[in-house]
């Protein structure tokens, strides 16, 4: 890969930039190995520097992404919304350019990169950025940075600990960036082993039990995922990949590329819903693929690669095993279960309380703030686009699972006496909104409502990432002072720690969805969308807002109100602690007051494109 940097036709800035974003933390972890063991403070600062650098690179990527969105603005769409900016269009264009008889040089300006990793098995090293992944990457970089600040007090096997956290960060960022399914799977598994050690070595009393449980549940999901990926690899995609002109497409082609496979999925959806005449061939003008404009009312959906023989392609597709309802159902079920374990949904959530209770505070922050988001992201990026027909058939049941998780998580949280466990269950409840929001698939003229639901789901992931990590940090601070987490023995914290109380009040209320703070926006959009989709799913979600308020306020009362001689002498938060907590509190306010300006402005075009592509094939 390095020699390609020197070759002027192969040089590609995106490749370098995205790889740096992915691997910078691992490089820092490698750097840690050089620092002699007695310089512990140096190690902390070094890894902090690494996390800061990663956050900086992520922020620069955001600026670059905004530049990319802006570059296609014209009067046919609202600014920043041009379909040529969509990740799948950029990926297809790159594939088309590479497949020419004389391949075009790689573009350095499309925020997408694809290089062969293993040509024998068609595995590509392909990374790409869109609004959703970028938002989650920023969240990851931020939460990891805060987690490193929060782990200043950890002294046991410090080098390993810091390295694990940095490797974890790399794995998560890689998973968010990966476009190739195999590459995604590699990153997805790469997160597993640092997490296992972080819980298993630096955890609490039952850490081994929790670590093993975490690994087994996650592996169960991964196995489903792997099965789905291998199944998808078996599909013959010869009509969906661009070929040099004159190629007769006589050989079978297989791929791990999620963009190509999602086009196959949409074609299958058209066939299964009896609209096969709408399958069209992508057109090319001036060497560029022509994107589908949002206001395009043309019934034909361009799914086949340019130059494909449409009749033969449809005939081949209909003969393939993938084009059967059973196959699609199984594929979607595998993908859904694979990611839902991570979300987590009822009844596969029971690893979460154990992992949270045993994990050290910074690891809990990362777990709640980042790792759960991979589940939602996977549903968004892979489960729905790769098996859209089954998803649209089953979306009510998916929404039902989400609604059950919302209600169940809230009720169980109310019955807890362990502060941390309570927050773990509240995560189940809050992440249920993500599943519900994604599942509210309304078609036709109501498609905007689904768009709102998906907007809400993704925003809810960001908001939950902020509030949940912050609240776990709050628990950590309380635990550091009280050495227990029993809600019935806490109380009276407001008087000795007023600033801490104020900051955590913002986060508590953000978590219970108070308007003006970040938790409200996502929940509200999901509720609006769910109401349009099905009253039966919306009403439990709305009623749960009461339960959420009840258990969080009850907790608040038990921790902060009253008088308690045991807590009266607690120290106010230190500058180090306040730097973390106040950052989160400020973000909770900022995202709640200006969600449109700060987030949706650049994130929404990707979601709009995603919804548009799927709604088009619903018919």
């Amino acid at each position: 890969m390095l020699d390609s940097l020197l070759d002027s036709t192969e040089r590609e800035t995106d490749l370098v930039w995205l790889s740096v974003l992915t691997f910078l933390p691992i490089l820092c972890a490698a750097g840690l190995m050089v620092i002699p063991g007695r310089f512990k403070e140096w190690m902390r600062w070094w890894s902090l520097l690494g996390a800061c650098a990663t956050l900086t690179v992520a922020a620069c990527t955001l600026i670059d992404y905004h530049r990319l969105l802006d570059s296609h603005s014209d009067r046919t769409t609202r600014s920043l919304y041009h379909p040529a900016n969509r990740l799948d269009h950029r990926a297809d264009q790159a594939a088309y350019d590479a497949a020419q008889a004389v391949p075009k040089p790689f573009s350095s300006f499309n925020m997408f990169t694809r290089r062969a990793w293993n040509e024998r098995f068609d595995i590509n090293y392909s990374l790409g950025v869109d609004g959703v992944s970028l938002a989650l990457i920023l969240l990851t970089a931020l939460v990891t940075l805060c987690a490193l600040v929060a782990s200043w007090k950890i002294d046991q096997q410090l080098r390993g600990y810091l390295a694990m956290i940095l490797i974890l960060e790399s794995g998560v960022i890689g998973a968010f960036l990966a476009v190739d399914l195999f590459l995604f799977y590699v990153f997805y598994e790469l997160m597993l082993f640092p997490m296992y050690f972080l819980i298993g070595i630096w955890g609490g009393g039952r850490r081994k039990y929790a670590a093993v449980k975490f690994v087994i549940y996650t592996l169960f999901g991964s196995v489903c995922l792997l099965a789905a990926i291998i199944t998808l690899y078996s599909v013959d995609v010869r009509d969906f990949v661009p070929k040099p002109a004159g190629d007769l497409r006589t050989e079978e082609v297989h791929t791990f590329d999620s963009v190509t496979l999602s086009r196959v999925g949409r074609a299958v959806m058209l066939v299964l819903s009896g609209q096969e005449e709408r399958i069209g061939v992508q057109t090319v003008a001036h060497g560029q693929l022509v994107p589908t404009m949002p206001d395009d009312t043309n019934a034909t959906v361009p799914l086949l690669a340019p130059g494909a023989d449409r009749e033969a392609a449809i005939a081949r597709l209909k003969a393939a095993t993938i084009c059967t309802p059973t196959f699609q159902y199984i594929l979607f079920a595998l993908l859904f279960v694979g990611f839902a374990v991570k979300v987590p949904i009822f009844p596969l959530h029971s690893w979460l309380p154990d992992a949270h209770v045993e994990a050290p505070t910074p690891v809990s922050m990362i777990l709640a703030g980042v790792l759960l988001k991979l589940g939602g992201y996977g549903l968004f990026r892979f489960a729905f686009p790769l098996a859209p027909w089954a998803a649209s058939e089953l979306c009510w049941y998916v929404g039902l699972i989400g609604a059950i998780s919302i209600v169940y998580g809230a009720i169980v949280a109310m019955g807890q006496t362990d502060f941390k466990k309570l927050l773990a269950y509240s995560s189940v409840s809050h992440m249920g909104y993500v599943v519900l929001g994604l599942a509210t698939w309304s078609a036709g003229a109501r498609a905007e409502y689904w768009e709102m639901g998906v907007d809400g789901a993704i925003f809810q992931m960001l908001a939950h990432g902020i509030t949940a990590s912050a609240l776990f940090f709050v628990v950590g601070m309380v635990y550091e002072r009280a050495h227990h987490r029993d809600l019935n023995r806490l109380g009276g914290l407001m008087e000795p720690m007023p600033a801490f109380g104020g900051a955590s009040a913002i986060l508590f209320f953000a978590s219970l969805g108070l308007p003006g703070l970040c938790g409200f926006v996502g929940e509200f959009l999901v509720i609006l969308s769910a109401w349009n989709f099905s009253y039966a799913l919306a009403i439990p979600a709305i009623l749960t807002t009461v339960l959420t308020a009840a258990y969080l306020l009850w907790t608040w009362q038990r921790v902060y109100f009253g008088t308690n001689p045991d807590t009266a002498q607690f120290a106010e938060m230190t500058p180090r602690e306040s730097s973390v907590l106040l950052t989160f509190a400020a973000l909770a306010v900022a995202l709640g007051v200006l969600p449109g300006f700060l987030i949706f402005q650049w994130m929404e075009p990707s979601i709009q494109g995603w919804v548009d592509a799927l709604v088009r094939v619903r018919g």
Partner: protein, 736 residues
């Protein structure tokens, strides 16, 4: 700068809404820095220096004075806006046609649609939409905006003026919050003063309240709705070291959240049917507003109205969610005056008034009955309370019931009018009670008071004006608004005889009102002192507290006046509001409007109605005088804690506790046990145990199979041999 506002006068209101943000942010910043530097107080360095500078009563007082100044400015803007709107748009037309308030194209209103001051909060979709075009077919954005009408300006001015008075009053009332105290003598629990925090919460509250008043769409109302709720939460739990304060705050917030479920459903209905939250645009979709093809089905219309009203039930403490308001008296008394009497609890009434065209006749009937039940509950329970603030709290519940009843029976202007007059005299009464509590060193029990008029004359006589006003004494503001409500109720009773109870109950409770208010005043100020110790230490409050009382008393007298003053219908404010009102016939399918007929009929007898109301009020006063002035000595001995049906406020708390709180908690504990039990190894007694059991199954299988792998070559060889024989046999059979 001035042109900016002159161009779109509505912007003045946005600026006024956001102004209190300045002191709020300053107080918040200073408080945070002070708390964070406290650990370094004795350490030399910049942190210690900062702490020494900031930890001074002067700093906190400066914050309070800044807040008062800002509120004064806001009051000025509000009064300026009100008079401008009045002179420019209303007075010239007062004699002409009524102004249709729902006409969105009407550029005379300071309407955001006319001057394009909307901001997109969140935008969706890729379709390019010209900003000016109001497109409600495609849901493309959620916007924030303002919508100023005459009721908005009046309400805004009321909140600003009452707020300013309460800000000033709090300077005196909260003065002891400037210094640290010890809350528990045995534990030596230190308690730092919370003066700055009080003004911080108040500032945040008025921002949210102003935003609620000017909002032009349901979402913005909802946002402010919850924000005033959370400010109320923090102010109720202001004395959070007290156990009951925390519970009361939780109760208030959760009761409001239950109401907000309805509000959210209403918002969801409006969005999924009309793609808009705009109150005006929603009103335009109603059949009685000329929508040719209404998007709503009749059921959805009623459901929308009921959902909205459920939100108002929570916020305005209507039956069956009225239970939180009396408990909310755990907060400081100025807060009870501002939030839990004058402004926030009236927001529900205001919302019903503002969304009036969205309610179907069925929904309005529900509103009327709810108001009727509420005013009866509040009125009866207030008669037996012994805590001075609790009496006022139940009185507030009852008066809010009056307003809802008025709105429900079609007396739109009467309801809003009573909302305004009530705000002034109830704020006066609460501040008076605060002054008494302050003068008696935080004694709130009526049984220990008596004869205080000699010690605190200003408080006593200003409060007397408040009592007269709320009891409907002629020529005071309460008289005008109560007459308007009673007339509206009587009209409805005549027009719809099957609902005559809606007309009878308010008349009867008018007598109760006079009874419990005079009871309060007599027990506090009249007669002889019942507790010598309390009486001896009592003192009149300082000027900073009595001047707001006097100003509010003047407002309570005069705010309803018009010419001729002895005609209750001649009240200027009422006439103004009535003029904005659309004909009530929109709500009746019958073209022969029975309400109109009844109104003309009743107009003949309005003097009789006034006489009846006056007589009932006089009777209430007489009973109070007889029981509490003529027979005072026996009161102290016989009256213990309030008990029984009325003393327990119709047993609402007990029933809710047994039917809602306990079952929910039990369900939570049960479900938690169903989900995971700490001690289930082996036997799956919970969901977690079951899933673990599946894992154990694999482990057990492995353990069982381990016996075969015993390391004895003999066993392996036997299996090997048998397998070979078996395979060969299979081969033989298969190839045959």
């Amino acid at each position: 700068m001035l042109e900016f506002f002159a161009e779109h006068p509505g912007r003045l209101y946005v600026a006024a809404t956001l102004l209190p943000l300045v002191p709020a942010v300053l107080i918040l910043l200073i408080g945070t820095v002070r708390n964070l530097t406290r650990p370094y107080a004795d350490v030399p360095g910049i942190a210690g220096w900062l702490y020494a500078r900031l930890n001074h009563p002067r700093v906190e007082l400066a914050g309070a004075w800044l807040s008062i100044g800002v509120m004064g400015l806001v009051s000025f803007i509000a009064v300026y806006g009100f008079t401008t709107l009045l002179y420019e748009h209303y007075l010239p037309r007062l004699s002409g046609e009524p102004i249709a308030p729902w006409n969105l194209d009407d550029t005379r209103l300071w309407n955001v649609n006319a001057d394009g001051g909307q901001i997109d909060w969140i935008r969706f979709g890729s379709t390019p939409v010209p900003d000016a075009e109001l497109d409600i077919i495609k849901a493309h954005s959620i916007h924030l905006g303002y919508w100023i009408e005459i009721d908005t300006t009046v309400m805004f001015a009321m909140v600003a003026v009452v707020g300013t008075m309460i800000y000033v009053f709090s300077l005196g009332y909260m003065r002891n919050e400037l210094k640290s105290t010890t809350i528990d003598e045995t534990l030596q629990h230190a308690r730092r003063g919370r003066f700055g925090r009080f003004y911080l919460y108040l500032n945040l509250f008025v921002i949210a309240m102003f935003n609620l008043i000017i909002a032009d769409n349901l979402l913005q109302v909802f946002i402010s709705w919850e924000l005033v709720g959370v400010c109320s939460y923090f102010l109720i739990s202001y004395y959070y070291e007290r156990r009951e304060a925390g519970w009361a705050a939780n109760k208030a917030f959760i009761a409001n959240r239950i109401g907000d479920v309805g509000f959210l459903i209403a918002i969801a209905i409006s969005w999924s049917t009309c793609n808009t939250f705009m109150i005006g645009a929603l009103g335009a979709e109603m059949p009685w507003h000329g929508a040719l093809e209404p998007l709503f089905s009749p059921t959805m219309r009623t459901l929308l109205g009921l959902g909205l009203f459920l939100g108002c039930v929570g916020k305005s403490a209507q039956f069956p969610l009225q239970v939180w308001l009396p408990d909310a008296m755990a907060g400081p008394t100025p807060v009870s005056a501002l939030i839990h009497a004058a402004t926030m609890v009236a927001a529900g009434v205001y919302l019903v008034a503002r969304c009036y065209p969205l309610f179907t006749p069925d929904a309005l009937l529900v509103i009327a009955y709810t108001g009727c039940i509420t005013l009866l509950i509040g009125g009866t329970v207030a008669c037996v309370q012994t805590d001075i603030k609790k009496v006022l709290a139940y009185s507030t519940v009852s008066q809010l019931g009056y307003m809802m009843l008025a709105l429900g029976v079609g007396g739109w202007a009467a309801g809003v009018f009573h909302l305004l007059t009530h705000a002034f005299f109830k704020a006066l009464l609460f501040l008076g009670a605060g002054s008494v509590i302050h003068g008696l060193h935080h004694e709130q029990d009526l049984r220990k008071m008596g004869g205080l008029r000699r010690k605190m004359p200003v408080t006593a006589w200003t409060m007397f004006i408040g009592v007269l006003a709320i009891s409907g004494f002629p020529l005071l503001s309460g008289w005008y608004s109560k007459e308007a409500i009673l007339t509206a109720a009587a009209t409805f009773g005549v027009a719809a005889p099957s609902h005559v109870v809606l007309a009878v109950v308010p008349f009867l409770v008018a007598g109760l009102t006079a009874f419990y208010m005079f009871r309060l005043w007599f027990l506090t100020f009249a007669g002889e002192p019942r507790d010598r110790h309390v009486y001896d230490h009592a003192h009149e409050s300082p000027l900073v507290m009595t001047i707001p009382l006097i100003i509010l008393a003047m407002f309570s007298i005069a705010v309803g006046w018009g010419w001729p003053a002895w005609e209750p219908e001649a009240s200027f404010l009422y006439e103004l509001l009535n003029h904005q009102h659309w004909p009530s016939s929109h709500f009746w399918d019958d073209p022969q409007d029975p309400l109109l007929n009844a109104a003309t009929l009743l107009h003949e007898y309005h003097l009789l109605l006034e006489l009846i109301a006056g007589a009932i009020g006089l009777f209430g006063f007489a009973v109070a005088y007889w029981r509490y002035v003529l027979r005072t000595p026996r009161f102290h001995a016989t009256n213990t804690e309030p008990r029984g049906f009325l003393g327990q406020a119709w047993y609402f708390d007990a029933v809710y506790d047994a039917c809602l709180r306990k079952p929910t908690q039990n369900l939570a504990v049960f479900t938690a046990a169903f989900d995971k039990q700490s001690s289930d190894h082996g036997a799956p007694r919970s969901l977690d145990g079951l899933l673990n059991g599946i894992g154990q199954l694999a482990a057990n299988t492995g353990r069982g199979l381990r016996g075969i792998q015993n390391g004895q070559v003999r066993g392996y060889v036997t299996i090997l041999g048998l397998t070979v024989v078996g395979l060969l046999g299979m081969l033989a059979v298969l190839t045959r």
